[in-house]
């Protein structure tokens, strides 16, 4: 296919990207909430569109009506979600906002599945959409031409809305300075609901318009949210024109990349993102400082007392005892739980003392798991070498990726880690020669009895977790916390902030890699799921469940979460729904975590 046609296809893709991203950007600009559920709204748009379009006449008018109906329906759902959940979160730290909106992702996923079923729903293209036209000697679908126009059209309409109407003026004012708008006596609650609903409607529109080229399916939510994050971060958070520019840049390069380096198209996205962010951390058209949302307020953190150490030792002994008595099922659960403790503790280093929100921590876990799995199967390396390969591989890649990541902060950093994890996931799925793709790597056995392997995991994880905690109160840990608590002050005292953050990032990735390696041998296999987004959220939930600012948090959180998870999974086929509700309840009721300080009580 010719270069020009490929570029046109890219422009059509850019319109789809823009439609997903612009609503996210509008919502973030005003409310400073990163709406993780935005992809779910997009998915809802696709499903609603499917239901409506099936009933409506297959004419251009019917199509337009159906798409509009889907957008309005999703806008209404958005308004309800805002009033029920998001409204309570505007003052919360960005991490909790991300987690709460992820809870919505889980809930919506289960609801959609309950209503429309698990099967992929595609729409037979109505005749007027099937046509293609001849451009530049190649055939080009007419619908894609429509799509190419839809992006600038929506951009123009949004521009008119924001530039010419009173509502738009208020929204722009609120984007600049929220406090000021409140001072002018504008009803902020209503404004936020309207803005959220508008953003949701745009997502719904995008979802419905994506139907003729694809289908409504359960995976749409996470796929589209990753795209949207990349576009919004590259374009500049809160900037709509920036989102379009970024969508065009990514859409076209991605489409051309498919021709030039089909294997590397996903990596290409990450490279574009990294390149833009290194040069302009605030994104193409973003303003400096716009990438940060609500900061987390650091709270005092103290070294474990003698009592804490004893409690930890008692816990380890109790787990060892439980492992010696447990049957095969509970032994597997216990093994998973102790691995989860190390995984959560590794994330905690980044999240708590490092002050960096990682939404893609599964990447390091998965890289470790694949490294150990490949070493054990392809290289037939003995257990200790394979286990060593896990942290080494994860650490080295973290060192590379960290160069870009630690330049960012706040939400932009969270999105970059997420994008990297998604790309690592895609590589695991696509690079079948190395990873086996969806079939994974099988037959990774430790050569120990399950009980023996559990004890090994317990020992490694207990020592690893204890060492991680030790670093937090060593000179390195103090310096890292200083860099998080007051970066300006820390730099003025001679602390190299970027290197400290990089070191924390690498340390965190290395430990997560080790836990991934352990998990590969525990399960006997590695699948792409080990670096999927759910795994990242597992880690976040564990740390938050325990409490970010408490040193015992990750341990308690990981054990509680694994317990909760296994109970839910056993009890219900709607575990996503229940897990989502549990997360929402956690965020809304006990944001400081189980082990976090209430009112002045020591952690």
């Amino acid at each position: 296919m010719s270069f020009a046609l490929q570029a046109l296809t890219g422009l059509a893709g850019a319109s789809s990207l823009f439609l997903v991203a612009c609503g996210l950007s509008v919502i973030f600009g005003v409310t400073r909430v990163v709406n993780f559920a935005h992809g779910s709204l997009f998915m809802l748009g696709a499903y609603l569109g499917w239901s409506l379009l099936r009933l409506l006449p297959h004419t251009p008018w019917g199509f337009g009506l159906g798409v509009a109906g889907a957008a309005i329906g999703v806008a209404a759902i958005g308004a309800v979600l805002e009033m029920a959940v998001l409204r309570r979160l505007y003052a919360a730290p960005e991490l909790l906002q991300l987690l709460a909106t992820f809870a919505l992702v889980l809930i919506i996923q289960d609801c959609v599945q309950a209503i429309w079923g698990p099967a992929e729903l595609s729409l037979p293209r109505p005749p007027f959409l099937r046509a293609s036209i001849t451009i530049l000697g190649g055939r080009f679908p007419r619908y894609d031409l429509w799509l190419i126009m839809a992006g600038p059209l929506v951009l123009g309409l949004l521009h008119l809305l924001f530039a010419r109407t009173r509502f738009g003026m208020v929204v722009r004012a609120a984007t600049e300075n929220r406090a000021l708008v409140a001072a002018f006596g504008i009803d902020q609650r209503r404004l936020f609901t309207l803005v959220f609903s508008l953003g949701a409607g745009l997502a719904g529109l995008g979802g419905a318009l994506s139907l003729p080229d694809g289908s409504a399916n359960i995976g749409l939510d996470l796929r589209s949210i990753t795209d949207a994050f990349v576009v919004v971060v590259v374009g500049g958070m809160g900037s709509i024109a920036g989102a379009y520019l970024a969508a065009v840049l990514i859409g076209v390069l991605q489409s051309l990349g498919l021709v030039w380096l089909p294997q590397g198209s996903l990596v290409l996205v990450f490279v574009i993102m990294a390149a833009v962010l290194v040069i302009r951390p605030q994104g193409l058209l973003g303003r400096a400082g716009s990438e940060t949302g609500q900061p987390d307020r650091p709270t005092p953190m103290r070294a474990a007392s003698a009592g804490g150490r004893i409690a930890f030792a008692v816990l380890v002994c109790a787990l060892a005892l439980a492992g010696s008595l447990a049957g095969p099922f509970w032994l597997a659960v216990l093994t998973e739980a102790v691995i989860a403790v190390l995984f959560a503790a590794s994330l905690h280093v980044m999240l708590g003392p490092g002050g960096m929100i990682s939404f893609g921590h599964a990447a390091w876990f998965g890289i470790g798991a694949y490294a150990a799995g490949l070493a054990a199967t392809s290289l037939a390396a003995p257990l200790p070498i394979s286990l060593l390969a896990a942290p080494v591989a994860a650490g080295l890649i973290a060192l590379l990726i960290g160069q870009v990541v630690v330049r960012l902060s706040g939400v932009a950093l969270a999105m970059l880690t997420l994008a990297f994890a998604q790309i690592a996931w895609a590589v695991a799925v696509q690079w079948t020669q190395l990873t086996g793709g969806d079939d994974g790597i099988l037959g990774i056995w430790p050569g120990l009895t399950p009980r023996g392997y559990f004890l090994l995991c317990l020992a490694v994880c207990a020592i690893g977790t204890a060492l991680l905690r030790q670093t937090l109160f060593a000179p390195f840990g103090l310096a890292l916390r200083a860099a998080r608590d007051a970066p300006l002050r820390a730099a003025a005292s001679g602390l190299p902030i970027a290197r400290l953050r990089l070191a924390a990032f690498v340390l965190s990735g290395t430990a997560a890699g080790l836990s991934g390696g352990l998990s590969a041998f525990a399960k006997g296999s590695v699948f792409p799921a080990s670096l999927a987004i759910d795994r990242s959220v597992d880690a976040l939930s564990m740390v938050l469940l325990g409490g970010v600012q408490s040193v015992s948090g990750p341990v308690i959180g990981a054990l509680a979460y694994t317990g909760l998870f296994d109970t839910l999974l056993l009890a219900s086929s709607h575990w996503r729904l229940w897990l989502g509700c549990a997360l929402l309840a956690l965020v809304l009721i006990r944001p400081q975590g189980l082990a976090g300080r209430g009112a002045g009580r020591a952690a």
């Binding site: 307020r297 916390r481 608590d485 002050r489 003025a492």
Partner: protein
């Protein structure tokens, strides 16, 4: 002996020329005050001298050595300590740990991962805290200190790097009169021990009572320098402060 020298520093933010060709010098043991109306460029000058901001032209030297690249950590290592107008202590630490952290950075010992930092430079840190009048607060959470004590802690953290020059952006702002006097006395004591001090302050009693020399900034330019008595009688300074001609403020 001149420690810190700035020659012809200029910086603009977009179209706004924040500082134009500002030169100054501070000698060991000297207390130099910079004064000027709000927006005159005082904090910008501190940010240049502390390495937080890069000048578009001009030169900063410490003991005759040029500090070429604006890098706060490097400025700190070469001996420039500073405090900020808005206090920024390390909120997750105790008062003592704040100072210990700065000392660990100064002695290049932050890349130690295992031994607890609890006892690192403890006597030295306690000594600095005692000098700043915080001897009895060492074990408290830094975030829980009263405002005047936070100002003292900020100074103690700056002192922990054993600076030759101290840049104090309104060290006594927001303090009641007796506390302000105590803070200025503390600073004067540090100068007596040989530290070169450049400070800004809105309270004119503190400025004229403690400064050896005063630099007056107005709209990003130095309009006068001299001893307190020179400045007091300078007609241009009186214009800026007393009204004759106040274009901006």
């Amino acid at each position: 002996m001149t420690l810190l020298r700035a020659d012809d520093l200029s910086v603009a933010f977009g179209a706004h020329q924040a500082l134009s060709e500002v030169s100054l010098s501070v000698a060991a043991g000297e207390m130099v005050a910079q004064i000027g109306p709000n927006g005159a460029g005082k904090s910008t000058l501190f940010n240049l001298l502390g390495g937080q901001l890069a000048a578009q032209s001009g030169r900063i030297t410490l003991r005759g050595v040029t500090l070429a690249k604006a890098d706060p950590a490097a400025f700190c290592r070469s001996g420039i300590g500073r405090i900020f107008q808005i206090t920024r202590c390390f909120a997750s630490m105790t008062v003592l740990a704040c100072v210990q952290t700065a000392m660990l950075a100064h002695h290049r010992q932050i890349w130690r991962f295992l031994r607890p930092a609890e006892r690192a430079f403890r006597p030295e840190a306690l000594d600095v805290l005692a000098r700043c009048g915080l001897g009895d607060q060492a074990g408290r959470d830094a975030a829980s200190l009263a405002y005047p004590d936070q100002k003292r802690l900020e100074l103690a953290v700056a002192l922990a790097s054993n600076p030759a020059v101290l840049l104090l952006d309104e060290p006594a702002s927001g303090l009641a009169a007796p506390e302000r006097l105590a803070m200025m006395r503390l600073v004067a004591e540090l100068a007596r021990q040989g530290i070169a001090v450049l400070f800004s302050e809105h309270d004119m009693q503190s400025v004229f009572g403690f400064a050896d020399r005063i630099i007056v900034l107005h709209q990003g330019r130095v309009i006068a320098t001299g001893t307190p008595s020179d400045i007091r009688t300078n007609p241009q300074v009186q214009d800026v402060y007393l009204g004759g001609n106040q274009p901006n403020e």
